[in-house]
């Protein structure tokens, strides 16, 4: 029986330049914190090995502090053993990184930089497929098929890359055979690269990143606890929560009569959780001018609660009626201007951009009119 934790794509050192303020720093720090959380899980679950299936570092040249602090943290969690596999972000092409790691790595950190079996424990062989370059152009796991191990030895594969053309990096020609586990007689194939957890088959899994770094996957980060009972047994896998930040995309579909502020409030996570939440609110459906203004205001009110709150209202169609225009003015020049903007927004002969601008201008006129009226 062998028990280990499967994780990948830590992307230590990622800087999140697309955010402002102290959020990037918090996100970066959260990534470093994964080491401690994984180690804690390992200790709690009685697993002595943590397999990191690639992209441990975000770049080929992580800053020295990132590298050194990560190794120091890993050393601190001995006797838990860490196996680090080169991924596409930190491939072997980054020779400087790997030679430095080799020089600095503590005893409980194993660098899986050769396609050669590593004995994890008695009767357990790890078959790593390190990425030699950023884009190897071939299936690095192929060698596992021919790798001989003693009879009865548990075979654990460790690889990084896409199994279909759905790589995190877009189209990829170097896909790992989806049936590698079967072909190579692996008891478990631990994969990295895909940031969301994914079960390929009973013996093949992506753990996903333990700490998400984008809105794409919509699931909180986790690591996999894998328990291999024996050669013939299927692996027992369970997910362990690891993320400190939630990256959520919430769809909010509105109907014309809906009160958008109330609808939004119903969707938002509990206030205590919001500080650790990056939220993208995608509004769709239909809304009146007034509702739309109310939504914008409600979002503006909620923003300080969150690590990040964004409203995407591109999918929200504004319905405008005479009553709405009446709220601007019943007659006169203001009404004329509003009517002209509305006509332009609904004019199919105009480009989508122009219509969008006219719509926005109308909404703006509406909000100004309300402000002046009050």
């Amino acid at each position: 029986m062998f028990r280990f934790i499967h994780s990948s794509d830590l992307h230590l050192g990622k800087r999140f330049g697309n955010f402002d303020g102290d959020l990037p720093g918090r996100l970066r720090e959260a990534r470093h914190g994964i080491i401690g959380r994984l180690a804690q899980h390992a200790r709690e679950q009685g697993a002595d090995t943590i397999l990191l299936a690639g992209d441990t570092f975000d770049t080929e040249t992580p800053a020295p502090d990132i590298r050194r602090q990560a190794l120091a943290a890993m050393r601190d969690h001995a006797p838990v053993r860490w196996v680090i596999l080169p991924g596409n972000h930190d491939s072997l092409q980054a020779a400087q990184l790997w030679s430095t790691l080799k020089a600095e790595a503590p005893e409980n950190v194993v660098l899986a930089v050769e396609p050669a079996a590593i004995q994890l424990a008695a009767g357990v062989a790890l078959l790593p497929a390190p990425c030699t370059t950023r884009r190897p152009g071939r299936d690095m796991s192929e060698w596992m098929d021919g790798a001989a191990t003693a009879e009865g030895t548990l075979r654990v594969g460790l690889a990084h890359g896409a199994i279909r053309s759905f790589s995190e990096e877009g189209a990829a020609s170097d896909v790992i055979a989806p049936d590698r586990a079967a072909c190579a007689g692996l008891d478990y194939l631990a994969l990295g690269d895909w940031h969301g957890p994914l079960t390929v088959d009973a013996r093949t899994r992506y753990s996903g990143t333990p700490e998400p770094d984008r809105f794409k996957h919509g699931r909180p980060g986790e690591a996999l606890l894998v328990n291999l009972a024996g050669r013939s047994a299927l692996p027992e896998v369970s997910a362990l929560p690891t993320a400190s930040f939630d990256w959520q995309t919430l769809d909010m579909h509105l109907l014309e009569g809906d009160d958008p502020a109330r609808a939004m409030e119903a969707l938002l996570p509990p206030p205590a959780r919001r500080r650790q939440t990056l939220l993208k609110l995608v509004a769709t459906g239909h809304s009146r001018l007034s509702s739309r203004t109310a939504l914008t205001e409600a979002v503006a009110r909620a923003v300080p609660d969150f690590a990040l709150l964004e409203l995407d209202e591109n999918g929200l169609v504004t319905a405008c009626e005479a009553g709405d225009l009446d709220l601007i003015d019943r007659a006169g020049a203001l009404r004329e201007a509003a009517a002209a903007l509305l006509a332009e927004a609904e004019d199919d002969g105009r480009s989508a951009g122009e219509r969008e601008i006219a719509r926005a201008a109308l909404a703006r006129l509406f909000s100004y009119a309300q402000a002046v009226a009050s």
Binding site: G17, N18, T59, T61, A63, G332, A333, I357, A361, V372
Partner: protein
């Protein structure tokens, strides 16, 4: 409402009296009067009547009061609808207001009720529509005026427009519109200016951030690319280094070098041997050639010796002959020389004899010539002495020829003059009586009987026995000056000639002529004796005396001597000819001897050379044999050596290619070593670069910057959308408001348009929404601010605007008179005429009252002419 009469009393300059303007009718009424005639006073009074309460003492009221004080009174007759009223007001003491129905004479209202009645007439007091129809002198309604007045008039216009068009607020959006526009403009102002993003604004900052990040991103991307390239380079360098530095590779390279070296050394040894053999062969061949040449030379010399014997003998014979001939020639020449020498001496002797004879003859001749010359000289010298004497005499007696003539002429003139003088002198004649003859003397001289005697000045007659008679002539003696001058000239002339009388002069003249003749004769004989002069003759004589110093006696016969000389000369030339003929013969003979000797010497030298080559004659056969044997021996040796060299050459290895192979092997080895060194250096360099960049974490920075850049781009895009939205909104609001304004001002524009077209071609006016007055006009497509127009145009525009509002009022059922008080001061006559066309056109249903001081201009403009008449209340 229409006004039909105006009367005033005790107002301003009309202190204590009154004037009335009666008969104001419909249409255009014109009151033309000079300044200070009371027009404006009437106007002000009328204005006060309608707009100043009777009880008030406001400024306009105070202005009405004359300096002397008193109570101003104003009265007007008006028609309102079908009714006619008289309105009367008096201010200050006993002030009242009163409205009377003219038809019935009934008092309609008085005091405050009367004021109310008036207010109702003009609807709303000074702010009522009627108020704006007053156009005062110098007030065009467009110039700066007091705020209260401005506002009042504006309210009038606004109320009028509102009454015909509706609330301005409702139409233009009013305050809300303005606030929204201000908010929009404020938002836009924060981010953009007319020229683009506002410096320091959020939009500009976002754009700057984006650009800065883009540059940063590009720089970092390049850094990352450089790092990756360095990594790749190092990987390939290390791979290549491993290959080159491998033990097998090294051993292979070393073995290749060793093999090539051995091969090269073998080739080199073979090459040396071949070189030696070839040198030997060359030597052997040379030795053989030497022997061959010695034998040939020996045989040739032998042959030549034999051939040379005959020519040598012949040459000796020729030399002997030549020497003999030379001896003969020398002898012949010696003889000829002797003969020539003899002839020379003979000739010389004959010549000397002849010369001596010639000299003797010439000396004798000279002696004779000298004697003759001396004789001639003596004669000449004698002649010369005579000549000099004669010349001396001549000088003594010579007289200039014309002097005698002049003297003669003077004599004649003098005689004439004396005769004249004598005739004029007093004279005395005595005629003696008895024998008293000659007793009387005059100045001592007796006076003869009957002889007239003249005297000068005074004379004394002594008459013996009687006494002395003094005669005195008392006349001036000036008449005698010519005579005196002539006598003076005669005296001078005679003195110059050294004679006393003319006769003497003539005698001297003859004497001079004789001497002159003698001189000429003497000169002739002197020149024949000494043609070149006496001095020359003396020199000749001296020279001849010197030459003929020695006298030699001649010897022999000259002819014989001459013949002997000729003969001697002939002999000498013949002897010389013979000698000259003999000379060349000797030269030729000598040349022949030299040639013969030379030929002989040459042959003998050749002979001696050959003898030396051949050696003693008895050993010559043995020597030839020895030489031929040596040749045969050496030929054999050379053939043997050649065979040996050919064998070696056939077996030789190519040294050049062996060396090339060695060189190549070595260069392979050394270049591999160099490459290893170079690669190590490259790797070391790349190591440093990679380490540096890795420590800088460029890739992290790059990814961070790329993320930030995309965020910045989104932000800029959001700003762009925001700006577009705001600009769109601003444009929509502007457009709507402009349309609304046009709609609001439409009625007055409709009235103004036709009026404008009467005065101006193609002119349109826009109104200021705030003041409801013309703001800009556009002419020929050019917009102009009304404030910048000429005064004439401004006042015309003002009047037309008022007329337009008046029409609007009339249309609204509230007709009001338009009163123009000198409102056209800047306009020229032509414009005024056109203005009046407009007024007349307007006046069909409108009362217009015009006050003007421009009598002449307004005279022909038609309308109802008003006059001011005295009036008492």
């Amino acid at each position: 409402m229409k006004i039909s009469a105006l009367r005033l009393f005790n107002i301003k300059r009309f202190a204590g009296r009154g004037v009335a303007i009666e008969g104001i009718g419909d249409g255009v009424n014109v009151l033309c009067a000079a300044n200070e005639f009371g027009k404006s006073t009437s106007f002000e009074a009328l204005h006060a009547l309608f707009f100043q309460p009777y009880s008030g003492t406001a400024g306009p009221v105070r202005n009405l009061r004359p300096y002397s004080g008193g109570n101003p009174l104003v009265e007007a007759d008006i028609a309102h609808g079908d009714q006619r009223f008289r309105i009367t007001k008096q201010y200050y003491r006993g002030g009242f207001a009163r409205v009377t129905d003219l038809a019935s004479g009934r008092l309609v209202a008085q005091a405050d009720e009367a004021e109310n009645f008036i207010n109702a007439l003009i609807k709303g007091g000074p702010a009522g529509p009627a108020g704006l129809l007053w156009v005062r002198q110098g007030v065009t309604g467009i110039e700066k005026r007091s705020n209260a007045e401005e506002d009042g008039e504006k309210q009038v216009r606004a109320s009028l427009l509102e009454s015909v068009q509706g609330e301005v607020e409702a139409i233009t959006g009013g305050r809300r519109m303005a606030e929204i526009m201000r908010a929009v403009a404020g938002e836009l102002d924060k981010v953009v200016t007319k020229r683009g993003p506002k410096a320091g604004g959020r939009y500009a900052t976002a754009i700057e951030a984006r650009d800065r990040l883009a540059a940063e991103e590009a720089r970092l991307a390049a850094d990352v690319a450089a790092l990756r390239e360095a990594l790749d380079k190092r990987a390939s360098a290390q791979k290549r280094l491993a290959e080159l530095d491998g033990a097998d590779e090294r051993r292979e390279r070393q073995e290749a070098v060793a093999a090539a070296q051995a091969n090269f050394e073998t080739a080199q040894a073979q090459g040396e041997r071949l070189k030696t053999a070839e040198a030997e062969l060359k030597l052997a061949r040379e030795r053989r050639d030497v022997a061959e040449r010695a034998l040939d030379a020996f045989r040739t010399a032998l042959q030549k010796t034999t051939d040379l014997a005959a020519p040598l003998h012949e040459a000796e014979r020729r030399r002997d002959e030549a020497i003999d001939r030379r001896g003969e020639a020398a002898e012949t020449i010696a003889k000829a020389q002797a003969a020539a020498d003899l002839a020379d001496s003979q000739e010389q002797e004959a010549r000397e004899l002849l010369a001596r004879l010639d000299a003797a003859l010439r000396a004798r001749e000279a002696t004779e010539r000298l004697a003759e010359s001396r004789q001639r000289l003596n004669e000449a010298e004698a002649k010369r002495g005579a000549l000099e004497d004669a010349e001396a005499q001549l000088a003594l007696v010579s007289i200039p020829p014309d002097a005698v003539e002049a003297l003669q002429a003077l004599e004649i003139e003098l005689s004439g003059l004396r005769a004249v003088a004598e005739a004029a002198r007093p004279s005395v004649v005595v005629a003696y009586v008895g024998d008293a003859r000659g007793e009387v003397t005059m100045d001592g001289t007796p006076l003869a009987e009957g002889r007239e005697r003249s005297y000068d000045g005074q004379a004394q007659l002594i008459v013996p026995g009687i006494g002395v008679i003094s005669l005195r002539s008392n006349r001036a003696q000036s008449g005698d000056s010519r005579l005196e001058k002539a006598e003076e000239r005669q005296r001078t002339l005679l003195a110059s000639m050294g004679v006393a009388t003319l006769a003497e002069a003539r005698a001297r003249q003859a004497q001079a002529q004789q001497i002159d003749a003698r001189i000429r004769e003497l000169r002739g004989s002197l020149s024949s004796l000494a043609p070149a002069g006496l001095a020359k003759l003396r020199e000749e004589v001296a020279a001849q005396a010197l030459a003929g110093a020695e006298i030699v006696e001649p010897e022999g016969d000259a002819a014989a001597l001459r013949a002997a000389l000729t003969a001697a000369e002939r002999e000498r030339s013949e002897a010389r000819l013979a000698l000259r003929e003999a000379g060349p013969a000797r030269g030729r003979a000598e040349d022949a001897v030299v040639a013969a000797e030379t030929a002989l010497a040459t042959l003998r030298a050749e002979q001696a050379h050959l003898e030396a080559q051949l050696g003693p004659a008895d050993q010559r056969g043995a020597r030839e044999l020895a030489l031929s044997e040596e040749l045969a021996d050496r030929s054999r040796q050379a053939e043997e050596t050649q065979v040996r060299a050919a064998e070696l050459r056939a077996g030789a290895v190519d040294l050049v290619s062996a060396e090339a192979a060695l060189k190549r092997a070595r260069s392979v080895q050394s270049s591999a070593e160099q490459q290893i060194v170079a690669l190590r250096e490259i790797v070391a360099g790349l190591n440093a670069e990679i380490r540096a960049r890795s420590d800088e974490a460029v890739e992290e920075s790059w990814r961070e910057t790329a993320d930030a850049l995309s965020a910045a781009k989104l932000r800029v895009a959001a700003f762009e959308k925001e700006i577009a939205t705001l600009q769109r909104l601003s444009a929509a609001l502007d457009e709507a408001r402009t349309e609304a304004r046009e709609l609001y001002l439409k009625p007055v524009m409709a009235e103004l348009g036709p009026l404008l077209s009467l005065l101006f071609n193609d002119v349109s006016v826009t109104f200021d929404e705030r003041t409801l007055l013309p703001q800009t006009i556009s002419r020929n497509g050019q917009e102009e601010e009304v404030e910048r127009l000429s005064g004439g145009m401004r006042e015309q525009l003002s009047v037309l605007t008022r007329l337009a509002f008046a029409r609007l009022l009339a249309r609204d059922g509230r007709p009001a008179p338009v009163i123009l008080d000198d409102a056209l001061v800047y306009s020229d006559d032509e414009r005024i005429e056109k203005m009046f066309d407009a007024l007349h056109r307007q006046s069909r249903d409108q009362q217009i009252i015009v006050f003007s001081c421009r009598q002449r201009a307004f005279q022909k403009l038609g309308g109802n002419i008003l006059a001011m008449v005295d009036w008492e209340p």
